[in-house]
């Protein structure tokens, strides 16, 4: 299991490094609420897999993005973002006391209550990935704000792309 995770991390990080889209990801939320010891248990196991230098695993430094963006009319986590989710899953799996709230969002087009549904679908997509990768049900809650809390103002594709998102917020 941990081997599988590491491959995901490695692949994902490579994809991230070469992907200009990540530069549009804004600063994550203040990370002071993240558990500070989140990585300690994980790094213990790395030596066995020959990834001892593991510098790229930076989720402990507060740089792990906590916003996942989605394509139009989609609730599928983009392949280049799966590693971000994996690293959050690992963080949760290794810190049973950690809790996250997944906040789903939609762009402003269409009906507000239906958009609540679309935001929830995105939050659930992230939730399922977290659960598959070791996070516990009790660690995750979801809320959908639909189009009510846009990250970017404006009625254009650039704003819509930033607003179709799930924010991963650590609550303890």
């Amino acid at each position: 299991m941990s081997h599988f995770k590491l491959i995901l991390i490695a692949l994902g990080t490579l994809a991230l490094a070469g992907c200009p889209a990540t530069s549009t990801i804004p600063d994550p939320e203040p990370t002071d609420s993240m558990p500070s010891d989140s990585s300690s248990a994980d790094t213990d196991g790395y030596g066995n897999d020959g990834l001892r230098d593991g510098e790229f695993i930076d989720y402990d430094s507060g740089e792990l993005p906590n916003i996942i963006y989605f394509d139009f009319d989609s609730s599928e986590v983009r392949s280049e973002d799966t590693d971000i989710v994996s690293r959050h899953a690992m963080q949760l799996a290794n810190n049973p006391s950690a809790r996250v709230r997944l906040e789903g969002h939609a762009d402003e087009r269409g009906s507000r209550e239906y958009n609540i549904g679309l935001g929830e679908r995105r939050a659930q997509a992230v939730r399922r990935l977290l659960l598959i990768q070791g996070a516990g049900t009790a660690q995750i809650s979801t809320v959908s704000f639909g189009e009510e809390r846009p990250q970017a103002e404006g009625s254009n594709e650039a704003a819509y792309a930033l607003n179709r998102r799930v924010e991963i917020k650590y609550t303890n």
Binding site: R109, Y114, I116, V143
Partner: protein
């Protein structure tokens, strides 16, 4: 409870500035209907002070103007200004082509007691169409004036007036990094704005109880969605639903005893439930894996219309309110959501994707044809007036949400806005109870 009254200038495109003095900006943007020329003569006044506490004729005139069907003449055009029926010289009005004349007076009968009386005449037939006398206080004068306008409007058009109704809506105002959300109740013309709830977390989906005394809504206080039902008079509220996951889209049953709500649960499968407000019992009406939401009762109470994307995109379905099989209602186009039935049960308003533009559509349930009523690209939240003849909805202008009304035949469209905040989700109240 906070009370704020906006004092904003009126913008009138039809050159009526002297006759109307309302507080909301109202642009007549479409008027394919001929406006009937009418006159509302300034009301007489007997009481303390030089003028009555409220210009009743001005309120009536504004109502008739905003209906889109009447052209109230300015005072400066009037050849006489009678304040009671016996002083009306019909020739003075027929020569101007005026087809209806309203005269009346306000009489102070006590410290805070008034009598408002009015008479409506057809000068061509030289007859009184209606006359009425109503008691009032300073606090109720405006409502009494709206009620007079309702009676005049109904006499002239055969349609019940909605001038004494209210509209609830949500406004959002930028504040710091976030927004301040307000749930507002105002007279249909934008007067008497009352903020009934205020929060830094989003407020959504207000819904009137059939007796107009309560509003249900969704609030995200504490970063979770809950459904509240709030008494307007007292401001007291109950938390009607606060399950894990989504609690959304409340709408009252015609008898006011139940809500239809959307619950998502921990796994986020949105389904339609009814919630008995007395017993708190929830009854699940849909179980599909798709998004099922935005339930709304048919006026006869038999069905719940809702949005579901079980066929791919969102379409309108209905299910018997006591449970049963859901059947699809809309087929035209790839996106039909937020169904609302007209109070007469004959029409269905939806949010329709019209070649990339989200617009308000109205479907005649007998003929099944869809008529697009609005012209924006981000229109949403249609809500019928209680007379089934007008709808209010939200559209976008200058980056802000503003409200528009449109007649159900699409011929008269008007924009109204308080001009300050981003306004959305208007819902029209039922008829007031006198």
């Amino acid at each position: 409870m906070k009370v704020r009254i906006f004092g904003l200038a009126i913008v009138l495109l039809a050159g009526l500035a002297s006759a109307v003095n309302a507080q909301v900006v109202i642009d007549i943007i479409d008027g394919e209907v001929r406006r009937t020329p009418v006159a509302v003569v300034p009301f007489g006044w007997q009481g303390q002070g030089a003028t009555a506490p409220l210009d009743v004729a001005d309120v009536i005139s504004g109502d008739l103007y905003r209906s889109g069907r009447f052209d109230p003449k300015p005072e400066s055009d009037m050849l006489q200004k009678p304040t009671s029926g016996e002083d009306v010289d019909f020739d003075d009005w027929t020569i101007l082509g005026i087809e209806a004349v309203v005269v009346g007076s306000v009489v102070q009968t006590g410290d805070n007691d008034y009598t408002v009386q009015f008479q409506l005449f057809d000068p061509f037939r030289q007859e009184q169409l209606v006359g009425y006398r109503m008691p009032a206080t300073r606090g109720t004068l405006r409502r009494v004036a709206h009620r007079a306008a309702d009676m005049i409007y109904e006499k002239l058009t055969g349609i019940k007036g909605v001038f004494a109704t209210q509209v609830a809506y949500v406004s959002a105002q930028k504040r710091g990094n976030g927004s301040l959300y307000r749930l507002v109740v105002a007279d249909y013309d934008g007067e008497n704005e009352h903020v009934i709830m205020e929060s830094t977390d989003p407020i959504m989906s207000p819904a009137w109880s059939p007796d107009s005394r309560r509003l249900a809504y969704v609030s995200f206080e504490g970063n979770r969605s809950s459904i509240y039902v709030q008494q307007l008079r007292t401001g007291n509220r109950i938390k009607a639903s606060s399950e894990p996951g989504i609690n959304g889209a409340p709408s009252f049953s015609p008898d006011g005893r139940k809500l239809v709500v959307t619950l998502g649960g921990i796994d986020g499968n949105l389904d339609i439930y009814t919630l008995d407000l007395t017993t708190k019992q929830k009854t699940r009406l849909t179980t599909h894996r798709a998004i099922d939401t935005e339930g709304s009762w048919s006026p006869d109470g038999r069905y719940i219309y809702f949005t579901s994307d079980r066929s791919g995109g969102p379409q309108v379905y209905r299910v018997p309110s006591e449970g049963g099989t859901a059947e699809r209602v809309t087929f035209e186009g790839s996106y039909n959501a937020r169904p609302r039935l007209s109070p007469d049960g004959k029409k269905l308003a939806v949010l329709h994707n019209d070649r990339g533009n989200f617009r308000i559509g109205i479907m005649d349930l007998a003929r099944k044809d869809l008529l697009i009523l609005s012209t924006g690209s981000q229109d949403e939240s249609p809500s019928f007036a209680p007379n089934s003849e007008i709808l209010i909805y939200a559209t976008r202008a200058g980056g802000n949400g503003v409200l528009e009304t449109v007649s159900a035949d699409g011929l008269i469209r008007q924009r109204r806005s308080s001009g300050q905040a981003d306004v959305r989700e208007p819902v029209w109240s039922p008829f007031p109870r006198y």
